[in-house]
Symmetry: C2
């Protein structure tokens, strides 16, 4: 063996694996290169967030760096934790990765919907006339004539199989096709086997649905953290990866395609179907995720004026992008509206049905970004705010996504702080809905003032304020203790700090300002809005009243809120089941007008106004 | 080295090469596998034709087989010739291959033509508006809007490069596109670089043209023997190869694609252009050649009812079939009419212009098969006869194609037999036009009677018939000596034998019968025909009077014959230069009605009638 290679023994998720890498490789790279593990790296591996903790043991381990000493607790240091992004591999070490991040419980379900079941891809059983010396039509013409579709084409890989398939069951054949292409020919009658996949590629999480295109049944769903996460938590870090490394784009493209293929295999296996009977895949995601999935360079989305390569809906042979369904199956990439309002929002608009109605609706999707759409069947205006990460747990000291063990509600129970966690597990962090609850509670208790300042424990006790016993100090600033050392899963207290509150303040200000800017821009008043759709995982768990208390959503809209869950996923499913929905996405993308907030003085005004807590 | 491997030292065409193969490999396979050499194998390597002669020397050579003793002359045996198809490699031998077959001089030029220069693929220079915060359209939309073409698409590989190309010369860009697709984007103004390729894939020879799509200039042409020839001389042997070997189809597909790519490279290099500026390739060939070039299984063409996979014109990304031009360049496979009337005939019809006229025309293409078309702008009827091989030199003892050294005319000069050869080289065989001349001469001399019987030398001398001194006996039958041992290039006399005459008789009978069957079927009389187009290499050199003398062409048509050369190639060139010609090929294929002769009693009648020599 090359003396410059190191062999890591990696324990992860009850599995052990060997990872071979060059001496000197950054540990994080070595661990994520072959998709060995999902490691949470919100900062993109820059040593800033301290979330890529792994246990490392073995000879040649260098002493802790200053940064590691700063980011790791004494307990963690004692247990041998290191930051994978700061450590270069120097020997044949044993690495142990906490599996918490992979135990994601992610919202797979969206709203109920009602569409006409008429997918783009249909199957037809045909008993084709056999050739004779009097009827020497070629094989392809026999099928085209039988289907009676003009201007019809068949890809070469399918034509290749056609003669054999046609003759295998004596000219009885089933054809999977859309309006212009034959996707596949199968011997005999296989009309009953007609499946599709819909995928919502979130920056954080990926959800895939298996669909029975004959019955309109959502058969199954799987989800997982986006496997590109090790290249950065947000779209900008991922775009930077494509710029900094020559093969960066290919990395990210392959990552997501491999993940989607894995999900397809899982779904097919679990449901005992063949991937050869999956004829379509509909993909939704933000504009950058769509670029990465299609293998297109997203570089210019990152810098002003934020220009994508293409926003039209793409219809490509799935194999062209590496997706493994039936060989000539179709991949439909839903259209985007702008560099920061993507196909996920188009799909969410479709799912909300807002463009089918005359009444004015507002749609808010708080994911890694916060996108806001205002409109009806006549017009649509939308914007994107850099709001999301705080509500997804990023930039929050003990913030986590909507995973098992995340504190998702915080309230007072007989004057005592009471929390619940997702899946009722011991708490390991706080997610978006918990953050909103906690902030609202602090406001209501009088601990958090309009300007965003927390009272110190001392001052709170002086004022005899309830909850003051839960206050403490972190880095010389006040903080709320949500779970003590003994309660917390990682034996590490969970706080909400003054700094966290500042992050929430910025995030809620930008959402609220976005809403108000859209209303102003379209010449409407807040009273004109009849319905507010809250989409995304965060939206599903949020306490609406508390969202109003902290000023995330204007008070006037409190009773008009409808939670529509994973609306992007729902929209992708709808587009799979109904060609008319698929075509609606083109109409939605065309109807929508994008408002660029980065250059909007009106938004800046509102942003500063809405920085205050409470409903202005 | 593996002891079971043998290393052959192969001398060919002034080159020496090493060929490594497994012990026991048939020599022919070893020599042709890597396209080391073109070896003529009309019988498809079955030990029947005796044309795959190579010199072999070295240890372990087995004694001559009976078949080899039969097929090789004493001189050849003395010189060490063996039949490559019958010999298994047993040692590290030296092999020497006569290069005669590679010195092909093939008709590259067709008729003059006059088309409107408006190719499917055009180039447009654009100075695209730069993006700003007020104009955030994506890169693709900028180009689509600038070209003002709706429903326009761009393949992923081109979209991938778009952002970089657009910005390389400050949003000045040249777009190569057809009506629905962008083929390529290039930085700056490259409108002047716009090339296409047209290929005529004959069963025997392949001709490729390099075309300047801006000027309509035929810049250059190259030709070569079809590299699939080592798998059999005719379409049936090649189809059999796809049936007999699992990878047979792939072999043949790769062979022809590799050959075409080699020709493209040669043309590009010779003319100092880049293959990245070649945006289209138009392919013509018979139905089987088109299937093999597209990689489609031709199996069902071989057996009744002779059904192809597809006959429609195919438009495929060139890279999809392995053709190396600009990455997203288009390959246009011209349409076919039936299993035995292919895209070459469609192209020839286009080149003849017969469907543009009201007058009735007859088109005859005698290649490896003999295809005949009768019609005008209103109707077209066509057929195919298994006539060709004799006129291409196959099944004729000393028959060769139209190569240098082929006897191409035979006449009487002051009562003496006089021959000419292609390229004025010493004779090495006789090609189609020479065969027709010789047969006509023998008829006129009274040596060949109506029934096809040759007078013996003895009888001819008794009758005091001129030419009798040139008669001899081969295998106890009369034969005409065309070149004596001392004249012939291979020091081997060149005969036309009684058996050869029988082959000619069958071939001319089927062409003549085909013509008459078509006339009868379309309810016309021979006088209605205003023009006869003779296409193909054979047609170009044939003596029209002699063709009438032997009864190949009816006497009534003698003065209506127009030679149009490589009309298939010309048609492919026209379709490259003019989109309207390209679309005409679809119309021609649709207009044409195919008459299946194998089941036609009328044809059988005519066939027997026309078996006699002389014009019935």
């Amino acid at each position: 063996m090359d003396s410059k290679e190191c062999v890591l023994s990696v324990a992860y998720n009850n599995r052990k694996e060997e990872v071979v890498c060059k001496k000197g490789t950054v540990l994080l790279e070595a661990l994520t290169k072959e998709q060995t593990a999902f490691i949470d790296t919100p900062c993109g591996g820059k040593g800033l967030c301290g979330k890529c903790k792994v246990k490392a043991a073995g000879e040649g381990l260098p002493p802790l760096s200053e940064r590691e000493q700063e980011k790791l607790t004494d307990q963690e240091i004692k247990e041998g934790y290191r930051l994978a992004c700061l450590l270069k591999v120097e020997g044949d070490w044993s690495i142990s990765i906490d599996a918490k991040i992979s135990q994601a419980t992610i919202l797979e379900d969206g709203v109920e919907f009602d569409v006409e079941l008429l997918p783009s891809i249909r199957k037809n059983y045909l008993e084709v006339t056999k050739p004779t010396l009097e009827d020497q039509r070629d094989d392809f013409s026999r099928i085209r004539d039988a289907l009676n579709i003009k201007g019809f084409r068949m890809p070469l890989p399918e034509l290749y199989h056609l003669p054999a398939v046609l003759r295998e069951k004596d000219y009885a054949i089933t054809v999977a096709h859309n309006k212009s292409y034959i996707i596949k020919v199968e011997p005999g009658n296989t009309e009953h086997l007609n499946y599709g996949i819909a995928v919502d590629i979130g920056t954080t999480t990926v959800v895939a649905f298996l669909l029975d295109l004959n019955t309109g049944r959502k058969m199954d769903a799987v989800s997982g953290l986006n496997s590109q996460k090790s290249f950065g938590q947000d779209v900008i870090s991922r775009i930077n990866h494509t710029l900094q490394k020559e093969e960066g784009l290919e990395h990210l493209h392959k990552r997501i395609i491999t993940q989607i293929n894995g999900m397809i295999w899982d779904l097919a296996e679990k449901n005992s179907i063949s991937i050869d009977n999956i004829y379509s895949i509909v993909l939704a995601g933000n504009t950058t995720m769509m670029h990465l999935a299609a293998g297109l360079p997203p570089a210019n989305i990152a810098a002003s004026p934020f220009v994508p390569v293409i926003m039209d809906r793409l219809v490509e042979p799935a194999r062209e992008v590496g997706i493994e369904i039936a060989k000539s199956g179709c991949a439909y990439f839903l259209p985007c509206i702008s560099g920061y309002v993507g196909a996920d929002i188009v799909a969410a608009i479709l799912a909300s049905g807002m463009t089918k109605k005359d009444e004015l609706s507002l749609l808010i999707d708080i994911g890694t970004n916060g996108e806001i759409v205002l409109g009806n069947s006549e017009s649509l205006v939308c914007c994107s705010t850099a709001a999301g990460p705080a509500f997804e747990g990023a930039h929050i000291q003990h913030g986590v996504g909507g995973i098992a063990g995340a504190i998702n509600t915080v309230k007072l129970d007989s004057d005592k702080l009471a929390i619940t966690t997702i899946a009722d597990q011991r708490p390991l962090g706080i997610c978006g809905s918990g953050i909103v609850d906690a902030a609202a509670l602090l406001i209501k208790a009088g601990i958090l003032d309009e300007t965003g300042r927390l009272l110190s424990k001392e001052d709170a006790e002086k004022g005899n304020i309830s909850l003051s016993e839960k206050l403490t100090e972190v880095e010389s600033n006040p903080a709320l203790v949500l779970a003590g050392k003994s309660e917390a899963k990682n034996s590490e207290p969970i706080f909400l700090t003054q700094k966290d509150i500042r992050e929430v303040q910025l995030a809620k200000a930008s959402i609220a300002a976005g809403i108000k800017t859209l209303i102003k821009d379209s010449g409407k008043s807040i009273e004109d809005i009849q319905q507010v759709y809250l989409a995304g995982g965060f939206g599903s768990f949020i306490d609406k009243t508390n969202a109003v208390v902290i000023g995330l959503i204007p008070k006037e809209l409190e009773h008009k809120i409808k939670v529509i869950g994973n609306a992007a996923g729902t929209g992708a499913v709808m587009a799979s089941f109904s060609e008319s929905c698929l075509l609606d996405t083109d109409r939605i993308a065309k109807l929508a007008r994008y408002l660029e907030l980065s250059s909007s003085p009106a938004f800046q005004d509102e942003y500063i106004k809405n920085m205050y807590f409470g409903n202005s």
